[in-house]
């Protein structure tokens, strides 16, 4: 499996105004190269939830997208901290530490990570106080 298209983005902590820009660029890039709408819809859900988590929970972070020669799409969301102390809790639907400010805008239902897990074909999350890395893979139907 080889990457045929690579893109990188930076997401800034607390930048609610630009929230969604990265996901929107990922979506239009994948549409341009002919990834199926069904797969793109799943990726849009996962990338938006992950992007928002970098903004509201982490100190910002980086997003890496690779489209592979077999049509699969890999997304990696990497942040420098503060990390997730209890991953099992974080993956539980309804569990959230979102701030009052974030909740006021409709975030904080504790459904982001469960949504990401549901729509992705491969889901891997690693976390320590030095940061969280979320790696996702979406396969294209043959």
């Amino acid at each position: 499996m080889e990457s045929i298209l690579h893109k990188e983005y930076t997401v800034v902590q607390d930048d609610y105004v630009n929230a969604g820009k990265v996901s929107s660029d990922i979506k239009s890039t994948l549409a341009e190269i002919g990834i199926s709408p069904k797969v793109i819809r799943k990726i849009a859900v996962a990338s938006y939830e992950s992007e928002i988590n970098l903004i509201i929970h982490a100190w910002g972070g980086k997003v890496f997208m690779d489209v592979n020669d077999d049509g699969s799409v890999a997304l990696v969301f990497k942040d420098p901290g503060p990390g997730i102390p209890d991953l099992e809790k974080a993956l539980t639907p309804g569990w959230s530490t979102a701030s009052e400010k974030a909740r006021g805008m409709g975030f904080g239902a504790g459904m982001g990570l469960p949504n990401i897990q549901r729509v992705s074909d491969e889901f891997n999350i690693e976390s320590s106080p030095a940061g969280t890395t979320l790696s996702l893979l979406f396969r294209s139907p043959v």
């Binding site: 996901s23 859900v45 805008m105 239902a109 469960p114």
Partner: protein, 110 residues
């Protein structure tokens, strides 16, 4: 039913008058918690919400809703309407509570 027909039948206010309203509405989703909307919404639905800020526009576009219907008289600012128009997201204001707005859609066969 198209957005245009919905406006004709309800008299709901179109907050983005510069946009094309010929898109079909296929069903609707009600909700204000963005991750629920992200997880359960479907393309071409009308999204009924009381949330009015930039992230609603992002969610609606990523989820490919045909329009959003702002309920309960939540305040659609000029800034919000302008941003929605720039991003080509049709915004309606029902002036009715969420339940009444949804009921109206059901009555009209959406």
């Amino acid at each position: 039913m198209t957005i245009k027909e919905l406006i004709e039948k309800t008299g709901w206010k179109l907050a983005t008058p510069t946009l094309d309203t010929s898109a079909e509405i296929v069903g609707a989703y009600c909700g204000d918690l963005l991750s629920w909307v992200m997880g359960n919404g479907e393309p071409q639905q009308a999204w009924i919400t009381v949330q009015v800020h930039a992230n609603v526009i992002a969610v609606a576009l990523l989820r490919e809703f045909s329009c959003i219907i702002v309920a309960d008289g939540a305040n659609v600012t000029e800034e919000f309407a302008a941003k929605a128009a720039a991003e080509e997201l049709v915004v309606l204001e029902s002036g009715l509570p969420v339940f009444e707005s949804a009921k109206k859609l059901v009555e009209l066969g959406i």
